[in-house]
């Protein structure tokens, strides 16, 4: 099973993302955006990692979404192959219309607005560990295929524009009904609260990750590759393991899910 980690100018998480994918049993390579796009069809799945593609010019993800490689990815998505967008990768998938995948651009990932007790306490870039609650049924989505509904996953985030907003008032209802909301921010006990710091960036309904209607394309703002090994966890986390450098961290479940999805679906 071979995956492509798609790198745009300004992407900066491609190496650790590939290491995390390999730790889950996937093989793969970094695929630069200016390679012939048709070569993408040789791969079984795709990850668009985090960073600042095109320096976030215009707005995060907007310029990369117009690259030919994204047209090729759209075709591969239509064939059912899995795509996971992490942080800036999520922003690119949103700007390209692949997420939530209802035709056109359906949402925006706007500047973070942290609200507590009715007051805006902070805006913009934020970097912290967070807990995600898996909202979808198991096997609903390629990147969370092995997770059960209600499972908690710890991983860090670092972004300025992850606040999911939409002008379509009916969209949230549809995303919820169709189980396209894959992850929500929650506290360490799994409680969702629409207040900073639990809702860490002001996102509508505390949404941290969504998938397309078919479930093969997932985007999430936090970074699973930064918690794929137990040694990456913060010192206060009981799961931290500094001795065994290969011990799995919670984020690895995302990449293991992708692998399992490819095995089951025969992509």
């Amino acid at each position: 099973m071979k995956i492509a980690v798609v790198q745009f100018p300004g992407t900066n998480c491609e190496h650790e993302t590939l290491v995390a994918a390999r730790s889950a049993g996937l093989s793969g390579e970094i695929f630069r955006w200016n390679r012939p796009a048709e070569e993408l069809s040789d791969f079984d799945g795709y990850i668009i990692p985090g960073g600042f593609s095109y320096q976030d010019r215009l707005r995060a993800g907007a310029i990369a979404s117009k690259e030919p490689v994204m047209d090729a990815l759209r075709e591969e998505a239509e064939r059912g192959k899995p795509i996971i967008g992490i942080c800036n990768g999520f922003q690119i998938l949103v700007e390209s219309g692949l997420l939530p995948g209802l035709g056109g651009v359906n949402v925006a990932l706007a500047q973070n607005v942290m609200v507590s007790k009715g007051e805006i306490v902070r805006r913009g870039f934020y970097c912290a560990w967070t807990t995600l609650r898996h909202e979808a049924p198991s096997e609903r989505c390629s990147g969370s295929f092995l997770l059960d509904k209600g499972d908690l996953v710890r991983m860090p985030l670092a972004h300025a524009e992850g606040n999911l907003v939409t002008a379509d008032e009916k969209l949230m209802e549809r995303l919820n009904e169709e189980n396209q909301v894959v992850f929500r921010y929650c506290d360490e006990r799994g409680r969702v609260e629409d207040e900073f710091p639990v809702n860490i960036n002001g996102s509508r309904e505390s949404i941290a990750g969504i998938c397309n209607p078919e479930g093969n394309v997932l985007g999430l703002m936090p970074h699973p590759e930064r918690s794929s090994f137990a040694w990456q966890l913060p010192p206060t986390d009981s799961g931290k393991c500094a001795g065994d450098m290969n011990a799995a961290g919670p984020g690895r479940r995302i990449f293991e899910s992708m692998k399992r999805y490819i095995e089951v679906r025969g992509c």
């Binding site: 095109y54 320096q55 010019r57 215009l58 707005r59 907007a62 310029i63 117009k66 690259e67 030919p68 700007e95 651009v105 359906n106 949402v107 925006a108 706007a110 500047q111 607005v113 805006i120 805006r123 913009g124 907003v165 939409t166 002008a167 379509d168």
Partner: protein, 157 residues
């Protein structure tokens, strides 16, 4: 009274170049888009009792413009643009935190008590070879310049 500051880079504007290249090389506007420029526009509402708006505009520009790399043009109430391009103003349709912060900074820390409101936007100046340049500009705005779930645009004619 509204004080407008049109601000542009006097060093190369890499963002404008990237947007131009994307439109020409990736989105089919090679023969249509001749040139593209970008300006920031500050629209600052102040008390009508201000006696010398020109002087106030200069003082505001000292805070909002870095003249080592930027130039500006101030006007009162209306904004006018040169001929030869279609100006497309893009701003946030959701709350603009930077505009709020700027207003608070001007009023509460820098002593501009007369400031009543601050609006921040970007003006994309599109030089178009098109029989209907405004219609083409609208198309470009909707295809690239905005995300309709957080931005608005207007053609400033």
């Amino acid at each position: 009274m509204l004080i407008n500051l049109r601000v542009w880079l006097k060093i190369p504007d890499a963002e404008a170049v990237t947007v131009k290249n994307t439109l020409r090389r990736r989105m089919g506007y090679e023969s249509v888009l001749e040139e593209l420029g970008k300006e920031r526009l500050w629209s600052i509402e102040v008390d009508d009792s201000v006696q010398d708006p020109g002087d106030l505009a200069r003082r505001l520009a000292r805070e909002l413009v870095n003249e080592n790399k930027e130039s500006y043009l101030a006007s009162v109430d209306s904004v006018e643009f040169e001929d030869g391009y279609v100006p497309v103003r893009v701003g946030l349709s959701i709350e603009d935190g930077e505009a709020i912060s700027t207003q608070n900074r001007l009023r509460n820390r820098l002593g501009f008590d007369m400031v009543r409101g601050v609006e921040r936007s970007v003006v994309w100046k599109l030089a178009l070879k098109s029989p209907e340049p405004e219609k083409t500009a609208e198309e470009i705005a909707e295809r690239l310049l905005i995300n309709p779930h957080k931005d608005f645009y207007e053609i400033m004619t």
